[in-house]
């Protein structure tokens, strides 16, 4: 089994003293072809990893922006095979860039856990984030994931309390550090005390740590980066896609617009 791209990527970044920038888009929003173009632009403009959300009918951990993106992707007829095809294209065109899926566990479960991770492997997917598969339920999918060289990315939150140590003890690839309570969506401000939060995390494990949930501006990214190894930006990007759609941009223009937007993040304190 080859080394997981995520490990390679973070090793490189750490070696260079750089922080990862991880954009998120919903696969198939507004259609799978456009997602492909957008993803390429994101990478060209400095994404270090790319995260594809698999659209879901009832995304109960997501806020309104991503809920609407999921809805658009489903209306366009996006299915798992399309997401695999998209991932496959991106992972083969960009051999350094790890592709990570974010989806609800039901999508995996109903598809068939073994079949799902086999298809991940074929599509060159390096990690899968299952926001509703916590530590306690992970054994249901992790053996299959690992047997196909796919990491289940663990999440930790400021209110994980005594669970934190256990989560970090088994985390692989990188740790998804939820910046604040609540669902996905931009925040103008965080109530979280990041110093204390990351002191706690760093004392427990050396695994790369990325902050996500609510990061909404290059300035926020800049201020969070010192604490961690990377920053995940989702709703802010998805909202620009929505705006572009509303403006009637064609897929090339939309991809360009997103490239330019993402550059504002990657240019800042690179």
């Amino acid at each position: 089994m080859t080394k997981n791209r995520i490990d390679t990527r973070f090793a490189e970044l750490r070696a260079k003293g750089r922080k990862a920038f991880i954009p998120f888009i919903t696969a198939g929003d507004p259609d799978i072809g456009t997602s492909y173009k957008i993803a390429k632009e994101l990478i060209r403009n400095g994404a270090d990893l790319i995260e594809f959300g698999v659209p879901y009918s009832d995304p109960s951990a997501d806020g309104p922006v991503i809920m609407r993106a999921d809805q658009r992707a489903l209306t366009a007829g996006t299915r798992l095979k399309d997401v695999f095809a998209l991932s496959s294209s991106i992972s083969s065109e960009f051999p350094d860039i790890p592709v990570v899926l974010l989806l609800y566990f039901n999508s995996v479960f109903v598809y068939g856990i073994e079949r799902f991770f086999a298809d991940c492997e074929s599509a060159g997917i390096s990690g899968v984030i299952l926001p509703d598969l916590p530590l306690e339920e992970k054994e249901e999918a992790e053996p299959q994931a690992l047997s196909h060289g796919v990491y289940l990315i663990s999440m930790v939150t400021p209110v994980s309390e005594e669970r934190t140590a256990r989560i970090l003890g088994q985390a692989k690839g990188f740790l998804y550090c939820v910046a604040s309570l609540g669902v996905t969506g931009e925040r103008s401000d965080f109530a979280t005390d990041f110093t204390a939060y990351f002191d706690r995390l760093n004392a427990l494990s050396d695994i790369p740590k990325c902050i996500g949930f609510g990061v909404s501006s290059p300035e926020q990214k800049a201020s969070l980066q010192p604490f961690c190894d990377g920053v995940i930006v989702g709703s802010a990007i998805v909202r620009r896609i929505e705006e572009g759609i509303k403006e009637g941009l064609n897929s090339d223009r939309l991809a360009e617009k997103l490239g330019a937007y993402v550059r504002t993040f990657t240019e800042v304190t690179r």
């Binding site: 009918s57 009832d58 598809y111 509703d132 339920e137 669970r163 309570l181 609540g182």
Partner: protein, 397 residues
């Protein structure tokens, strides 16, 4: 069976943000049930506030008509008009014990929301209720009631604007305010320990049936009927009889416009195993696990899943579940109103309708209990519309 699992079903498929809160809840619950003062206070509230025990009513005219002996377990006579209050009083006591000052709840028919707002008022807690926008229309009276009780009602416009969307939204809100907020779940659904907690707080229904039937007849009933939305009134009814193999346990699901249409909510009959709203159970969903839009005339049964313990009872065959159409339920609603002077909740009418359909399976000397989970005042207007009646001009003087 491991904690929180019912065979393959159950579990705790929750975002990490909620996991600590769930374990805190479980710990608090395990301590509470061991604390005699907690149980005493819960029992006192059931008795002195909810008005329990609820009546076990021998429906003589229905019995004569259907040629069996039918008892109705009258949860409709509880304060606030449904079984929901049993569970809510327990959970609110837990919330108070845990020092929470704010509760939230999802609601479908509005009965759970009313019950939660009621208990929150009683304990001086602040209360926010999430309700699908479609349900706020179908059950507008209950929206008014919650507001009067001091709760904020938040109509949820996502998805089909019904119970599943309200539940998702309540979970989102809980994850936003998990530190100061107690989420009062309204049925035996959601991540562990909720299905267990709700069942434990609803088993008073079955415990009372059991005691009363033994007192009256010295033996257990032959069958129990209950409607299943999330499944709390049914689980409360069935649970104390799980080991009594001679007692048939029969649940009525919402068959909507028919299970051969796409307008129903018959999760067990037509669903497949999946993971949603924190639990592994049986859901109406497509081959990729997208949750299906469901439909029932009854807001309280209009949910694409069912509690995990029911999924287990279904799979193991210990309990039976059948779909009941809107039309059958409305007929039973009218039937009971005219026959016994009891207007049942349209949810509960599903249970009675199922019994009417299956009556030939019971002989006159057998005894059947149908749980009337709630009263039908909230439904009267909607049923009138369904029937195309109530054109005011029709009145004659």
């Amino acid at each position: 069976m491991k904690d929180g699992r019912y065979g393959e079903f159950g579990g705790q498929y929750s975002p990490e943000t909620l996991m600590y809160a769930l374990s805190e809840l479980e710990t608090a619950y395990r301590e509470a049930v061991k604390d005699p003062t907690f149980d005493a206070e819960y029992r006192r509230l059931l008795r002195e506030y909810a008005g329990r025990p609820s009546l076990l009513y021998l429906a003589e005219r229905v019995s004569a008509d259907l040629n069996t002996t039918v008892y109705l377990k009258r949860e409709d006579l509880n304060h606030t008009g449904a079984h929901k209050i049993n569970n809510v009083l327990g959970q609110i006591l837990l919330a108070v014990r845990m020092g929470k000052k704010r509760v939230i709840a999802e609601t479908g028919a509005g009965q759970h929301g009313v019950a939660t707002a009621t208990a929150a008022a009683l304990f001086g807690l602040s209360c926010d209720v999430f309700m699908g926008i479609e349900d706020t229309r179908r059950q507008s009276l209950n929206v008014y009631r919650m507001e009067l009780l001091g709760a904020q009602v938040h109509p949820v416009t996502d998805g089909t604007g019904t119970l599943k969307d309200a539940t998702s939204e309540a979970m989102r809100e809980w994850s936003r305010r998990v530190e100061d907020t107690f989420y009062v779940i309204g049925s035996v659904v959601g991540p562990h320990p909720y299905p267990e907690i709700v069942r434990d707080f609803q088993r008073v229904i079955g415990d009372e049936i059991r005691a009363e039937m033994l007192r009256l007849h010295g033996r257990l009933p032959d069958a129990l009927f209950a409607c299943v939305g999330g499944g709390s009134n049914a689980m409360g009814t069935f649970f104390p009889f799980l080991n009594d193999k001679g007692v048939r346990l029969i649940g009525a699901e919402a068959g909507g416009e028919g299970i051969d249409t796409d307008r129903h909510a018959a999760s067990l009959t037509k669903g497949t195993t999946g993971v949603f709203h924190g639990m592994k159970s049986i859901f109406l969903q497509d081959e990729e696990g997208q949750i299906a839009p469901v439909y029932s005339i009854s807001a309280g049964l209009d949910y694409p899943g069912i509690g995990p313990e029911h999924a287990h009872l279904f799979r193991t065959g210990r309990a039976e579940y059948y779909p009941v159409t809107d039309e059958e339920a409305v007929c039973a609603f009218e039937y009971l109103s005219r026959t016994e002077g009891i207007i049942p909740a349209i949810e509960s009418a599903h249970a009675l309708a199922l019994f009417r359909r299956m009556k030939d399976q019971f002989s006159p000397d057998q005894q059947v209990v149908v749980t009337l989970s709630g009263r039908g005042d909230k439904d009267v207007e909607a049923i009138g519309e369904y029937r195309g009646r109530f054109q005011k001009e029709e009145y004659h003087d």
